[in-house]
Subunit: 273 residues, 2 copies
Amino acid sequence: MTYSELSSQIFQKQSYLCVGLDTDPRKIPTHLLTEKDPVLAFNKAIIDATADFAVAYKPNIAFYEAQGPRGWESLQRTLECIPADCFTIADAKRGDIGNTSDLYARTFFEPTAAGLSFDSVTVAPYMGHDSVTPFLAYEGKWVILLALTSNPGSADFQRQAVDDQALFETIIETAQTWAGPDKLMFVVGATQAKELGRIRALAPKNFLLVPGVGAQGGSLADVSRYGLTADGGLLVNASRSILYASTGTDFTQQARAEAKRMQQEMKRYLGEM
Amino acid sequence: MTYSELSSQIFQKQSYLCVGLDTDPRKIPTHLLTEKDPVLAFNKAIIDATADFAVAYKPNIAFYEAQGPRGWESLQRTLECIPADCFTIADAKRGDIGNTSDLYARTFFEPTAAGLSFDSVTVAPYMGHDSVTPFLAYEGKWVILLALTSNPGSADFQRQAVDDQALFETIIETAQTWAGPDKLMFVVGATQAKELGRIRALAPKNFLLVPGVGAQGGSLADVSRYGLTADGGLLVNASRSILYASTGTDFTQQARAEAKRMQQEMKRYLGEM
């Protein structure tokens, strides 16, 4: 999906909601456990219930990998359930030396490799340019680079002072020499809203993928105030608050209601721009 | 495997060789391609040929993931072929927020999850303490944290000056507040031998996993001079130089010969201590 297509989707749906498909088999409503593939049945139901209000879906790969080979099969089938007008993110946080990152890129981008064709992959920056550029070689595919994450450990190294700025700022500046905003996004946690203004100044056109609204405590209002651009420029992720809005037979209705509630709030912020 | 067991293995075998099972299906000798699982057949042959000279095996997970579900099955079966007295490393370079790193730890450590039970996992440090500590919760299992990697991109961020030292030095110091040398190793590229002395001073007891000898150009002599300790303290990885020593029907003999050549050199360095 291109930059302008993603931007169009946001204004068309009046939403920058990304639904995180962090599906934990231990939390699936019990009535689905008799399905042949409960994870797939759950994901399909969530996608169908939320697709009117979401512009992106983001399976976190750890949840599938922890199920072994059948988890990878659930992931393949889940990806097939996501409508073509939605942006897809493999939240994998990969990164290795060049020839190995090339294999990770094949895994998530090249359907003939692992049966997957995501629009984007999250990548860890620590190993530098040759760990990231193999992902950029794919036409129409994106890298979403970790910058300032939502977790407590983000304070350990990401905020270390390098010259007169924080390490995450150096990473945002350096990565922009590798690719333009048409192929490069950054992960910025919603719990870090007070830094969003500075990050937006460093990366005025790049989309930001923002996890941490909801269960982790970030504020959608703050994120939107500092992060929205004329092109949209934001993908705000919610996982647990949508997936597990109910654990009963009404889980699709409750997931849809929560996705709609977030979309309505986003619509307001888009209107105020 | 415990610290003292690993140390014992090194002195018993007179070797600190780790064989990197970075098996690329496109490079497997053609006579194996008729096997039901050519990757497994190749790995089993390499393991059988080199186990007298190696103390550790390290599959890089990217090579298996790029094959989809059947790649994970090859990985499961490969792990079963590694002798119990060898240390096993899942070279996965994972790391995510706490509850997600916990799933990655389950994947590689908990046999009932993904059918895998490695002794250790390589972990990326960028997301800080709560991305690493879930791996440390497993009794007898290890974290191998990226410090100074072997690739050109290691210069981009790992060497950034933080106060009066490099970022990788800050990471080595900080990580030692999370775990002792009985559960924590560091990755240091063999191409970075001139820093090994400083790293050894910062982490006098920790094992160092050293990739980059062979195809990437690092020197075993330099690595051994600066890295060896009274407990061994080193695992030096070789992948391509052993796996693809020959691409013909004599690949096992040539792999064995190359592993033996490295072991003999290591024996000399252990004797010179």
